[in-house]
Structures are given as C-alpha cells and as structure tokens.
C-alpha cells in the first residue's frame, strides 16, 4: 500500500528531474555561447572585430556556386566577417515573415518588393542609404539598374543583385518549320499558330501553371501591348480593371484558352515538366523568364527562338515592340534592423550584392548585368543570350513579375483569378471578380 502511494510521487519527481536536466542542458549551452562571445570581445583586435552573420538566400541549384564565389571574394574586402548561409524556403515568404514576427530575422536576407513593403511597414528593415552612399554603390550600377536601388519613398532598403529580366515566350523554330507555322509576330498570327498546333495534337504553349505566377505573367504580356505598365499599374493603385487594355487582354486570353492554348494538365504542370514538354517537341512554345534561356539553349541548341510581341495587335506592333513584361524593381539583399551587427551587415550586403552580380555574369553568363564594369562571362554568351543582350538595349518599358507586386491582396487575387480564366472561366465573371478584388485590395 505504501509502495502504491509512493509510485505517483516518485514518478512526478522523476519527471521533474528530467525536465530540470533538460533545462540545465539548455542553460549550459547558452552559458557556453555567452562565454565564447565574451572571449571574442575580450580577445585580441582580430577576435574583437570578428563578426558572424546569418544570410538567408537562394543558396541552392546553379546559384550556390555564385554565392560561394561572391563569399570568397568578400573575404578579401571584409575578412573579419564570417557568413553562414541558410537556404531560403520556396514558401510564399512564410518563413522569413515568421522570423520577422518572432523578432529573429537573419542579419542579411533576400527581399522581394512585396516583402520590402511588409517589413518596412512593421519597422523591421535597416535603411541602407548611408551605406549605399559611403560605398558609392550607385556609381557601380549602370543607368538602367540605378532606379532599382531606391524605394518609392526615396530610401534604399536593399541593394539589387540581378538585372531586370524580361518574361519571354520561347519557341521551337524546328517545330514551327516542320508544321509550316509562321512564328507569330502579332496576336492574329499567334491565334493561327495555336489553332494549327492544336489541330496536330501538339500543346501550343507549355505553361507551368501549378505555380501561380506564370498565368499572371501571361496576362501581363497580353496587357503590355496596350498598356506599357501592365498589371503593375493596378498594383500601384492606378486605373481600373474595366480599362480597355485589361478588357482586351482578357478577351485575348479567353479566346486563346478556348482554342486550346494550354494543355488540360497545365495546372498540375511544374517548371521541369513544362521545360521537358517544350524541349522534347511536345509543346511549341514555353513561357518563362529570361533567366532560363541558357538552360533551355543547352538542351535545344539553335532550335530555340524568342518571340517578343505575340500578343500585340498587328497594327501596333512597331509602336509597342519593346514594351516588355517582367522586370526587377527595388529588390535584393536587405538587412534586419534588429541585427546585432546591422552596420557591418549592411556594408557586407551592399558589397556582396555587387560581387554577386559580377559572379553571375562570369559563371552563369547573365546577359543583362546591372554593373557599369564590363564583366565578361567565362564561357561567352550563347547565340540566344547574345540576341537577348543586343535586344535588351532597346527595351522601352518593363512591368514586374508577380513577386515584384507590392499589394499582397491584389497579387493574391490576380494569381487566383487568372488561373480560373485560363481554366475556362467566363471572361465576364473574371472581370467582375477582378473589379471586386481591386476594390478590396485598395481599402
């Protein structure tokens, strides 16, 4: 009986001891960290200056080597800084926002225009104006890239690291020639091409619509022929969806969808699936950003071509030829206002951005460098990259990719509604839904 009474009490004591020892382990680690920190502070000059920064970025895929090369170069400029990369999650910026909500943002992180607006509003971003001026960052950027450094409020919250990529429609020259279809230079020809390929059971356009942005970009491409600012204008709080440019774009996409522009499986198609369909000749065209051209060229060689104006009206092509969809804007590497080493982090982020841009040109043959310095790619440019580099000089206007849209409510609405339009929703319903969404987004 006595034993029975003791059992629960002993169990409770045992649990408490386990909990206490776990807590003690935690404290021990903190203590060790603190001691290590104190040692650094109390040590020699080098140790005192040593700074460890956490860097949240797309440290994966082809860009991993670029980050490593830029980090290596930065060791010569700021040897006291040690950087630890954390691979950014592809999660609609949930993780970085959670870090911000918990007050534990990494010292340096990649910030899109939308994220900049969110973190600016919540006072989580370090203003980089002084760092930009002290290190003459603006003088290192070419004329087209300088505006990317400054936010619309006149401050700098991030330093750009890549140029203004355009959104492109790639096409398979060989497939078009085989089926006697003219590469479309205007909307009428695009419609004919869609009908021709559909009749031959070839998917006219491979769109990886499992992701939300390609559908919005397709719509934006259809808008820029009439309204150079594209959907970015609506995002900025200007214009209405009932404006002529957006109605025309809606009509064009609805007509193309009806004629079979996309595969029925488009909404379950990933970027890799779409690229595979295109490079294998199962799809005649592919929508993607200009950043993908080198990869596609490696798989297709000279069969790869670029279409610039497939959505423009035939009578306007010459005027709107260089109204491009896509673009960069004020995005790049930003710094947390709550970083313990914010000044060092800001300087590192600013200089790292420049080094990163340089290494991208050298290693990935970026055809649209943001730098004044004439950096040469290690392996030269492929013919299609060379064409893009030559053409990009003529680009008159650009819009934005959806992650560059700043009004999150508008962005979400246009992403979802465009998918519905491309799935065959009635165009009148689409316009009605978008008008309602814009009204809500502007409240």
């Amino acid at each position: 009986m006595k034993n029975k009474t003791l059992k629960p009490i002993l169990m409770l004591l045992l649990l408490s001891m386990v909990a206490l020892s776990l807590a003690a382990c935690g404290s021990g680690n903190n203590k060790a960290d603190n001691e290590s920190g104190s040692k650094n502070e109390a040590g020699g000059n080098d140790a005192a200056k040593a700074v460890k920064l956490k860097f949240y970025a797309q440290y994966s895929g082809v860009e991993k080597a670029v980050y490593d090369a830029a980090k290596e170069s930065m060791k010569k400029v700021m040897p006291e800084v040690e950087v630890e990369f954390e691979v950014a999650a592809q999660d609609d910026e949930q993780k970085i926002k959670t870090y911000a909500a918990a007050g534990s943002l990494p010292d340096i992180f990649f910030a899109s225009s939308g994220l900049i607006e969110t973190l600016k509003k919540s006072d989580n971003l370090y203003v980089m104006d002084d760092v930009v001026k002290e290190n003459n960052i603006e003088s290192l950027l070419n004329e087209t890239s300088k505006p990317m450094l400054w936010n619309k409020d006149g401050h700098s919250y991030s330093v750009p690291n890549v140029g203004q990529w355009a959104a492109l429609i790639y096409y398979n020259k060989e497939l078009f020639a085989q089926h006697n279809v003219k590469a479309p230079t205007n909307y009428t020809e695009l419609l004919e091409a869609v009908k021709a390929f559909k009749a031959k059971d070839i998917t006219p356009l491979a769109l990886f619509a499992k992701e939300k942005w390609p559908g919005v970009q397709l719509f934006d491409m259809a808008v820029v022929g009439s309204e150079p600012a594209g959907v970015k204008k609506l995002d900025n709080g200007e214009g209405q969806f009932s404006d002529e440019a957006y109605i025309q774009a809606t009509n064009k996409l609805a007509e193309l969808t009806k004629e079979g522009l996309l595969s029925k499986n488009a909404f379950n198609t990933t970027a890799d699936d779409a690229a595979a369909q295109f490079t294998s000749g199962k799809a005649a065209m592919l929508l993607n950003g200009a950043w993908s051209m080198n990869n596609i060229y490696e798989m297709m060689g000279d069969k790869l071509g670029i279409l610039y104006t497939p959505f423009s009206d035939a009578d306007k092509v010459d005027q709107v030829k260089w109204n491009m969809s896509g673009g960069g804007f004020n995005q790049g590497f930003a710094v947390s206002k709550n970083s313990a080493n914010k000044e060092v982090a800001a300087k590192y982020a600013a200089l790292f951005s420049i080094e990163f841009a340089k290494q991208r040109v050298i290693m990935l043959a970026d055809p649209n460098s943001i730098l004044v310095e004439d950096v040469k790619p290690a392996n030269g440019l492929s013919p299609v990259q060379q064409q893009y580099a030559d053409d990009s000089v003529n680009f008159k206007t650009m819009t934005a990719f959806p992650w560059g849209l700043e009004n999150a409510k508008f962005k979400t609405a246009i992403e979802d509604n465009t998918q519905k339009l491309l799935a065959g929703q009635d165009k009148e319903d689409f316009i009605k839904d978008m008008n309602k969404a814009i009204e809500q987004a502007r409240k």
């Binding site: 649990l15 973190l119 499986n265 999150a408 998918q419």
Partner: protein
C-alpha cells in the same frame, strides 16, 4: 492519506502535465485566433480593432462559400469511403472462413504509413490528364470519359478527397475490425440458432454494437475532412483559382499570401466552430447509450 486521496493524487499527477501541455499548445492559440479575428492585422505591424468586419467580409467572399462547400464534400467522401468501406472490409476480415486475412489487413493499412506527399504524388500521376492511369483505363474501355480530374471545377475536390480517403481508410478499418472482434461470440451463435442470415446478423448485431466506434470514426472523418489541407497543397495548390480551397487553405491564403492574419483568423475561427458543432452533433445523435456486454 485515505485511499480516495491517494486516487485523487494519482489522477492529478498523470493529468496535470497533459492538461498544461494541451492548454499551452491548443487552448491558448485557439483563444488568440478568436481574439485576432476581430483585428485588421498583417501579422507584423500593429493590429487595429475592427469588430466583426472580418466576419461580415467572410460571408461576401466567394472563397468562403467555395471552402465551405468543399469542406463538406471532403467530409462526405471520407465518411462514405472510409467508414463504409472500412465496415465492409472489417466484416469480411473478421470472418474466419476468409483465407489470407493477415495479408489483407497489412495491405489495407500500408497507405496509412506512407507520407501524405508521396501518396499525393502517386495520385497526381493517376489523375494526369495526358496519359494518366485513370484516363488510360477509360480509353482502354473505349469510353471518351476523359477528364482533367484535378483541374475540373466539378471533379477536383472529389478527386482530392478520394486520395485522402484511400490513404487513411486503413485507420478506420483497424478501429472497426477491433471493435467487431470484441463483440461476444455467443451473440452470433444465438443469431445462428435463430436462423438469421449473414447480412441480418451483421445488420442486427454487428452494426448496432459498433455505434460507439462509429461515433469516434465519424468525428475523426468529418473534422479531418473539414480540416483538409495537405492533399490540396501538394496536388493543386488550391487551384485552379480557388476551386479546391477548404477553410484551412483559405486561412493559409489570407495569412501567408495576402498578409491578412486577422482575416485568416476569422476563417480559422469559423472552422473551429464548424468542427465543434459537428462534434457536438455527433455526440448527441450517435451512441447515446453506453454499450456493455
């Protein structure tokens, strides 16, 4: 210390840690969700109190009605598929005349231990419009009933719900099978002596005696359906547009894509209320009397 005091002490020792854990991990977040639903809040900046505005907006939002309908469809599919098929298979597996019962029991349970992502990917391939197994089967039978299963407005949620139903049917099967095995054998013997047929025996004895198990199965199937998220996240990302949204997906969209945590909290609050209502309703209507043998 009296034996009652000892009993109470033991009760306290074993329940308090769990209750504390439950309060910290479940009760407090739910209360916070209800509180935040009355605010205009982006998750980071200072929240502004807006009363019932988020709830008023919910009822005018197309996403809300689509999510409500999809949640109910999802729950319906799970109830019919998991409990219905679980019962049939449970009865079959409990029959001593069936050979290879162990093999079947293991086989039906295998999908449960698989990752939801793996199962979703498997069914994406089956539902694929171009050359997927399902459409190929229709083509093989000479039918032209080929569908965009995951993109169609009227097929998407059913297809996703079936995937979830297929994966987790084993859980219900195990629960029902175990409950059947616990029914005293003499009841069946008495029915046999009275000349009851196979189906009469199960309709009059097995199914009524499973009512407590059904209560539990119904609660997990219905709340599981209303709470569904993982399958649509992997299989359709809620799309095209919002056609495969449920409340959890609507909450995700509002909080993480539109930066409207207050509005997302309102959707979450409605979901909590909906699940509670169903749980209360099932408790009131199913197995009202405790069964004892």
């Amino acid at each position: 210390m009296t034996s009652k005091q000892k009993y109470n002490l033991a009760l306290l020792v074993f329940t308090v840690p769990t209750l504390l854990f439950f309060t910290v991990m479940v009760t407090i977040p739910i209360l916070q969700t209800f509180q935040k639903s009355f605010f205009d809040w982006d998750g980071l900046s200072k929240a502004t109190f807006i009363g019932f505005d988020n709830y008023i907006r919910l009822f005018d939002d197309d996403d809300f009605w689509v999510s409500l309908k999809n949640g109910l469809v999802f729950a319906f599919v799970l109830v019919v598929y998991q409990i219905g098929l679980g019962t049939l298979l449970g009865i079959a597996l409990s029959s001593k005349s069936l050979r290879g019962r162990k093999f079947f029991k293991t086989t039906y349970f295998i999908p449960v231990v698989l990752s939801g992502v793996v199962v979703s990917q498997l069914w994406i391939a089956i539902y694929n419009t171009d050359g997927g197994l399902l459409n190929s089967l229709f083509a093989l039978m000479g039918s032209n009933y080929e569908q965009s299963w995951l993109s169609g407005e009227h097929t998407s949620i059913w297809a996703i719900a079936f995937t979830n139903g297929w994966q987790n049917m084993g859980v219900h099967l195990v629960l029902i099978y175990t409950a059947i095995k616990s029914i005293p054998e003499h009841l069946y013997e008495a029915a046999k002596i009275d000349g009851a047929s196979f189906w009469t025996t199960h309709f009059k004895i097995t199914i009524p005696l499973l009512s407590e198990t059904y209560k539990f199965c119904l609660i997990i199937a219905i709340t599981g359906g209303l709470n569904a998220f993982q399958n649509m996240f992997v299989m359709t990302s809620g799309g095209p547009g919002n056609i495969s949204y449920t409340f959890t997906f609507m909450m995700y969209k509002a909080a993480f894509r539109s930066n409207e945590y207050g509005y997302g909290s309102a959707a979450a609050a409605v979901l909590v209320i909906e699940c509670l209502l169903f749980t209360i309703l099932i408790n009131k209507l199913v197995a009202r009397e405790k069964i004892s043998y």
